[in-house]
């Protein structure tokens, strides 16, 4: 499959466009079928891509047949193909769930959903910094539209904050891009990595400002302190399947930090080596801390889940800041786990909220749920996983990250922070769970039953957690290889720029 690497972008793009066209446009059932078929294809192709990337090496897709660094390339290495697969899986779960009727509460749901997936996949796959910007915008605008899906004051309000902050963020992104192009003269990320080594001192200073601006923008997407403010309200007010899909959006930010600040401004960047590091540490620790406090102070399950997303961002960033292969490998494992589980938790929160009447998902006394066992089971699974308690995937990720910090000086900060955070999350979630499920006034009067598709969606996402533990060996082996690939700069640059020798010296 010569075109495998671009399929994760093209399939949702065509699906999204087709959903607007006649045989599908006004008939919801057809839209659902098309979307589900499409997402199934996406999963299959993403899996194939992953296997190909792992077995045959990095897949490079040269768009328009214009060789890098001139044209745009897609780079499907282990890391990006893994994230693409993760995205499609998350999408599949959310989509199944939405087909239970959540897609009815506004127009264009499936189309927007596809476009958002396209944007996310594109951001993961592209090897071009401006193309990354474009895909960021695709995923953002789709997320804006999806956020208001279903309507309501809270969504509107959250959207105002979310959109405006991101618009400022996009402006900063472009400033950063301008600076980097103005100093490096190229847009291909691998080529940037080469050019950055040849900057003279004053150019390097300028490029540094650009690189740091990008860090800020990625940090905004990743919801890092002090750029995380938009997240709790946004995620908590989005409709459930949308929030689930959003769970991967912060990861796009983290991924971009890995891609840009490890490859371009990494160890070998000469004057600009590791420029992000002094900023990453406080941001990472602060994010983890503020997320933990947020979880503790959350009044509703959805807000709590949103804060859990922040915690996962902080944890991931800690791993990013460690800048070792081990840490990256650990981060990748943790990333997969936390994305799927927080995604599932948003869905579970929605079901709980529906069955609790007026109390919704607030932590107050309420009437009993109609299906407490089913929901309780799902909740416990998700909770254990996200707290990081064995035997589910959370503990593996967390322990891997702690181990990665083992021989560093930062251990005295990282370990206590992670452990105390875990404890506080444990306390908060146990309080939440006991209140939601047991602090009830009466037996349920609710007729609201969970739809089989909703169960299917949640199951798909939650099943990943035990599977990640059971197959922890191969999975961590894969993440280790992916991390190795990411950190091995010469390899990645060679893969991207086979003719890079012709470019050496920077005289294009």
């Amino acid at each position: 499959m010569q075109h495998l690497a671009i399929l994760p972008i093209l399939i949702p793009l065509f699906t999204g466009a087709m959903l607007l066209l006649p045989p599908f446009r006004d008939i919801l059932n057809r839209q659902r079928s098309l979307a589900l078929v499409s997402v199934a294809l996406q999963v299959i192709f993403a899996a194939m891509l992953l296997v190909t990337a792992a077995s045959e090496g990095t897949q490079m897709y040269v768009l328009g047949d214009w060789q890098p660094p001139f044209g745009i390339v897609l780079v499907a290495d282990r890391l990006s193909s893994m994230l693409v697969l993760l995205t499609t899986l998350l999408c599949a779960g959310a989509l199944l769930y939405s087909c239970a009727g959540h897609d009815k509460s506004g127009q264009y749901f499936h189309s927007l959903f596809m476009f958002q997936v396209m944007g996310i996949n594109g951001a993961f796959l592209t090897g071009d910094i401006f193309n990354l910007f474009v895909f960021f915008e695709v995923l953002l605008i789709a997320s804006y539209a999806l956020l208001v899906h279903g309507g309501g004051k809270q969504k509107t309000q959250a959207a105002v904050h979310y959109v405006i902050l991101n618009l400022i963020g996009s402006s900063l992104f472009l400033f950063g891009l301008g600076i980097l192009y103005g100093t490096l003269g190229t847009l291909n990320i691998a080529d940037m990595a080469i050019q950055v080594r040849m900057l003279d001192e004053s150019e390097a200073i300028l490029a540094k400002a650009g690189g740091l601006l990008l860090l800020l923008v990625f940090g905004l997407k990743a919801a890092l302190l002090p750029l995380h403010f938009w997240l709790p309200r946004t995620y908590a007010s989005a409709s459930a399947p949308v929030a689930t899909l959003f769970a991967i959006m912060t990861k796009v930010g983290i991924y971009s930090i890995f891609r840009v600040h490890t490859v371009v401004f990494g160890e070998e960047a000469n004057l600009l080596a590791n420029i992000a590091l002094p900023w990453l540490w406080p941001m990472a620790m602060g994010t983890l801390a503020i997320g933990t406090l947020g979880v503790f102070a959350s009044p509703t399950l959805r807000v709590m889940t949103a804060n859990l997303v922040i915690i996962s961002a902080g944890t991931l960033l800690i791993a990013a800041a460690l800048q070792t292969e081990h840490a990256t490998s650990a981060a990748l494992y943790y990333l997969v786990h936390s994305t799927l589980v927080t995604g599932a938790l948003f869905l579970i929160a929605d079901l709980i909220s529906r069955q609790r009447g007026k109390a919704e998902d607030r932590f107050v006394k309420s009437r009993a749920m109609a299906q407490p066992r089913l929901l309780g089971f799902a909740f416990v699974i998700a909770a254990l996983a996200i707290i990081g308690l064995p035997p589910l995937s959370g503990f593996v990720g967390k322990v891997l990250i702690m181990r990665a910090a083992e021989s560093t000086a930062e251990i005295i900060w990282i370990w206590p922070l992670i452990l105390i955070s875990s404890l506080m999350v444990l306390v908060a979630i146990s309080r939440a769970g006991t209140t939601l499920f047991w602090r009830v006034t009466s037996t349920s009067s609710s007729e609201e039953q969970v739809h089989p598709l909703e169960i299917a969606g949640i199951t798909l996402l939650l099943a990943a957690s035990p599977l990640l533990v059971i197959f922890g060996g191969p999975v961590t082996e894969f993440t280790a290889d992916a991390a190795h690939q990411l950190h091995d700069l010469t390899q990645s640059v060679n893969a991207l720029l086979p003719n890079s020798t012709a470019l050496s010296g920077g005289n294009h």
Partner: protein, 932 residues
């Protein structure tokens, strides 16, 4: 290969059994549930002889090497001891629970949790890998949480469970850190390697940290002071759970851990100090408090705490003999405490109360149960011929032998005796206050003997107490030896399990304890009065209050930090941006580079002044919104002139078109918004915002200047060289857009299309207030479509479309292209809307904008896909020159088709937005009364 893994695995499979079996009768359910653990027990017994021979049975499978986690099990003496307790007592509890649980309780769920817990405990004691041990350790916390909160509708149960989970969870996390540190020091998590690395660890600088972390795990689990308060609250659980958790399993896990790590961590001053002092404190405190509990289970719970303290104290002493004594007491405590809990459960079950102030004289009602309970209580008190006596003797002996406290060493045996005095006293109270002491008071039920088989577990356990007490060597000699060998990982000291060691100090201490206990109990009234002076501070309330306090404080902090103010969030982001950009610039010595600069001319100055005044006017007049829009238009105009001036005609065109459409959009929105902005920013905030805006502006300007004055080598030469030959167009910018970087453009039109869809969603069901008059209170003009405007706009439409076609067709070679053409078309149509209104247009023109967007994106994407047919990557362009007679030479390029997609999307998106916005209102206006 052996079947070691099946020992924990069988109970794991067994957790599913009750879930299915619960549909059968209760007995069947219990029977089936017991099956798998029983099978496991058989396996254990099968392997026991090997273990008694000093062999360590091990089995391991690779799992997650990155984590250091493998699936590794071991069965040595220590593990065997615990495995037997866990499975044996577990089975008895299963039987007992069959009768204990009421019809309302979900038996299946209960058994499932119980067996799950059993599995977790087995995992802990059989782990041959520290990470795995920790994994099961945490699993015990979780499954015990489920058990304790089994009656979750009761506040007590929820709180008790949460406290237990919090305390043990915290300890678990500390343990994790400790385990990881050990792994780091040893280089392996395999218990085999770790147990062999005692010296390495003890001499390592992080040893104190490791020790404290591991002990935190152990102490929390085993309810050592100051974590001693959770087991009593876990009493909200059904009694079978208490019997299981607080005799043989949960709390013993901590003890187990200390025993397991004994060869690695013990033998240092620090170990002795921490462990033994904690044990001693716990022993005393538990025993003392137990005396005052009126709740039967409360008494037993504190008694458990006290006994755990005793075992801890023994382990802390660090002598081999003490360790043996500890192991011995583990066995003994498990048996008598399990039976006591079960007896307490029976009493509760049959009388409806656990309050010793109500329970009196039960001897008359349930003599058989009373007998059993009294025997077990006697064992707890350390009465000779019962197992408790033996281990307590050993304990006393060891307290006498230790001398680590120097001249204060005498205090240990004294306090140990004192603790035992209380122990005897509460045991006495248990016997006397419940079974004698007059008549029952207000019991809900008339007590009677329980069902036959509910007593069986108690009978078995009490029998064990007796048998061990009478013939210890025969009963547990091998087991104790094997366990000691495994714990010590070396020579087992000489010890004697005989009942009689002659008249010696330990015996004296026992006698003192028994007598003292009796005295204390007899004088209990005074003691109760003394105790009553102290305000009772329920640790549970304290705990809850602390959690609530933390919660409140954090909520307050979070509300201050995340106060929902966008202005603050934006400010923070921009401040960070400012710092990040400015910080590197501090090192920049010369702002200007060496690239020759363009001289300034009058036109540029005019442009700059216009732009500056326009921008400043926009800011200064921002509260009069319409005026600000006019000023904004000036800025937009000058920006496009700047693009034109600096050789970017395409940009100038685009900027112009976009600017006009934007201003129109802004006006459309402004109609529904207040016409002015109230003055609400404080001067301080204005100054602050001005400051940050000025700095960022300055920094951006500086960077821009620095960039522009430096030469640049860029990849653009390639585009200039290949535009004509490779892309078939002379307008390089357009060729980049539709060919070199067509993928960006595809994304860009997708963005536009999505925006339109999103806006459509926003407009749907929007309820807007339509102002009846303008901002100054004037009624609207009645002339909705001025004549001249309508007529002229109409005749401009074909012209505009022609221009649009012109711009579109020439785009590849000259400034222009699909996007600008699309905007021109859109503007022309908007002009028709403005001139004629939505209804008029709608009645005449049925353009399906959604279709346009969809097909636009599809066409562009399909064009890209076309190259697949030729085996080339997506978006590979194609172009050729043709010659037709008369027409002459012309060019066809796939890029034009792509551009058509762009065109359609732009028109579709822009119009979908504007036309739908238009639908929000009608041309019917409320007429205000005219003054005449």
């Amino acid at each position: 290969m052996n079947d070691l893994i099946w020992i924990p695995l069988l109970p794991l499979l067994g957790t599913l059994v009750p879930l299915f079996a619960s549909r059968f009768s209760r007995s069947a359910c219990a029977f089936l549930t017991a099956g798998f653990p029983a099978l496991a027990l058989v396996l254990v017994l099968q392997l026991a002889p090997q273990v008694f021979d000093g062999e360590t049975v091990r089995q391991s499978f690779g799992w997650i090497p990155q984590l250091g986690l493998e699936l590794a099990f071991r069965l040595d003496g220590l593990a065997l001891l615990f495995t037997l307790l866990i499975l044996g007592i577990g089975l008895l509890v299963v039987l007992y629970a069959r009768y204990y649980l009421s019809e309302n309780d979900s038996m299946g769920k209960f058994y499932a949790y119980l067996i799950l817990f059993m599995f977790a405990m087995l995992g802990v004691v059989m782990s041959d890998n520290l990470i795995q041990l920790w994994m099961f350790w945490e699993l015990t916390s979780i499954s015990s949480f489920l058990l304790i909160s089994f009656w979750g509708h009761k506040t007590e149960a929820r709180k008790g469970a949460r406290i237990a989970l919090t305390i043990t969870g915290a300890g678990g996390l500390a343990l994790l850190a400790g385990v990881l540190l050990i792994g780091n020091v040893v280089g392996s998590y395999s218990l085999h390697d770790v147990l062999a690395s005692g010296d390495l660890i003890r001499e390592h600088t992080v040893y104190p940290v490791i020790l404290i972390l591991v002990l935190l795990g152990a102490f929390t689990k085993s309810a050592q002071f100051p974590f001693h308060f959770w087991p009593p609250h876990a009493m909200a659980a059904p009694t079978p759970v208490s019997a299981y958790l607080h005799s043989a399993t949960m709390v013993k896990a901590g003890i187990f851990l200390m025993a397991r790590m004994y060869p690695v961590l013990s033998g240092t001053e620090l170990w002795f100090l921490i462990v033994s002092m904690t044990g001693l404190a716990t022993l005393l405190l538990g025993a003392y408090v137990a005396l005052f509990k009126h709740d039967l289970k409360g008494l037993l719970a504190y008694s458990t705490v006290s006994h755990l303290g005793l075992i801890t104290l023994l382990l802390g002493m660090g002598t081999d003999m003490a360790a043996v004594a500890a192991l011995f007491h583990i066995i003994n405590h498990a048996t008598f405490k399990a039976s006591l809990f079960m007896a307490a459960g029976i009493i509760d079950h049959e009388s409806g109360s656990r309050d010793m102030r109500q329970l009196n004289g039960l001897w008359k009602y349930m003599p058989y149960t009373a007998t059993l309970a009294m025997v077990a209580a006697a064992a707890m008190a350390g009465v000779p011929l019962l197992n408790g006596f033996l281990s307590k003797e050993m304990f006393f002996a060891e307290t006498l032998h230790q001398d680590s406290l120097g001249s204060l060493s005498w205090m240990v045996p004294v306090f140990a005796t004192l603790g035992t005095v209380f122990s005897v006293a509460y045991s006495l109270r248990f016997i006397h206050d419940v079974f004698f002491n007059g008549e029952p008071v207000n019991l809900p039920k008339t007590p009677h003997e329980p069902p036959r088989y509910m007593r069986v577990p108690v009978e078995i356990l009490v029998a064990l107490c007796l048998l061990v007490g009478i013939m210890p060597t025969y009963m547990i000699g091998d087991l104790l030896y094997a366990a000691s060998a495994a714990t010590l990982q070396g020579q087992v000291p000489e010890y004697s399990l005989s009942i009689w060691h002659g008249f010696n100090f330990p015996l004296l201490m026992s006698v003192v304890a028994l007598a003292g206990g009796a005295v204390v109990y007899i004088n209990r009234k005074e003691l109760f009065q003394f105790q009553a002076q102290f305000p009772e501070n329920d640790p549970k309330l304290v705990f809850e209050a602390v959690i609530q306090l933390i919660h409140r404080q954090i909520s307050r902090v979070m509300e201050l930090a995340e106060n929902g103010s966008l202005q603050r969030y934006s400010y923070m982001m921009l401040s960070l941006a400012m710092v990040m950009m400015a910080e590197p610039l501090l090192d920049l010595n010369a702002t200007a580079g060496h690239r020759p600069q363009i001289p300034v001319d009058a036109i540029s100055i005019t442009g700059a002044v216009l732009l500056a005044i326009g921008a400043l006017a926009t800011v200064i007049w921002n509260r009069q919104r319409m005026v600000a829009l006019v000023a904004l238009s000036v800025v937009g105009l000058i920006v496009s002139l700047m693009f034109a001036k600096f050789s970017a005609p395409d940009l100038a065109l685009t900027q112009l078109a976009v600017e006009v459409v934007t201003v129109i959009l802004l006006m459309l929105a402004l109609f529904f918004l207040p016409q002015t902005t109230p003055k609400e920013s404080s001067p301080k905030r204005v100054a602050r915002d001005l400051g940050i805006a000025a700095i960022i502006g300055g920094v951006i300007g500086t960077i821009s200047y620095a960039l522009m004055t430096r030469p640049l080598d860029s990849i653009s030469t390639f585009f200039l060289e290949n535009s004509k030959t490779g892309g078939g167009g002379t307008n390089v910018v357009n060729v980049i857009l539709v060919d070199f970087r067509g993928f960006d453009t595809l994304g860009e039109i997708t963005v536009l299309g999505i925006a339109a869809l999103g806006i459509f969603k926003l407009i749907a069901r929007m309820r807007l207030y339509m102002p009846a008059s303008d901002g100054d209170g004037r009624p609207w003009s009645q002339d909705s479509h001025p004549l001249m405007l309508s007529v002229v706009s109409q005749s401009l439409l074909p012209l505009a479309l022609l221009v649009s076609a012109y711009i579109f067709l020439r785009g590849h070679n000259m400034p222009g292209g699909g996007f600008i053409a699309g905007l021109i078309t859109s503007v022309a149509i908007i002009q028709q809307y403005i001139a004629h209104g939505v209804d008029w247009i709608k009645a005449r023109m049925k353009l399906d904008y959604q279709l346009m967007i969809g097909s636009g994106i599809t066409i562009a994407a399909l064009t890209g896909l076309g190259s697949w047919a030729f085996g080339r990557p997506f978006l590979t362009s194609w172009f050729d020159h043709f010659h037709l007679p008369l027409v002459g030479e012309f060019e066809l390029a796939s890029a034009m088709l792509f551009d058509l997609g762009v065109f359609l999307t732009v028109v579709g998106a822009t119009m979908l937005i504007l036309a739908n916005l238009g639908k929000l209102t009608t041309s019917e206006r409320p007429v205000l009364k005219e003054h005449d």
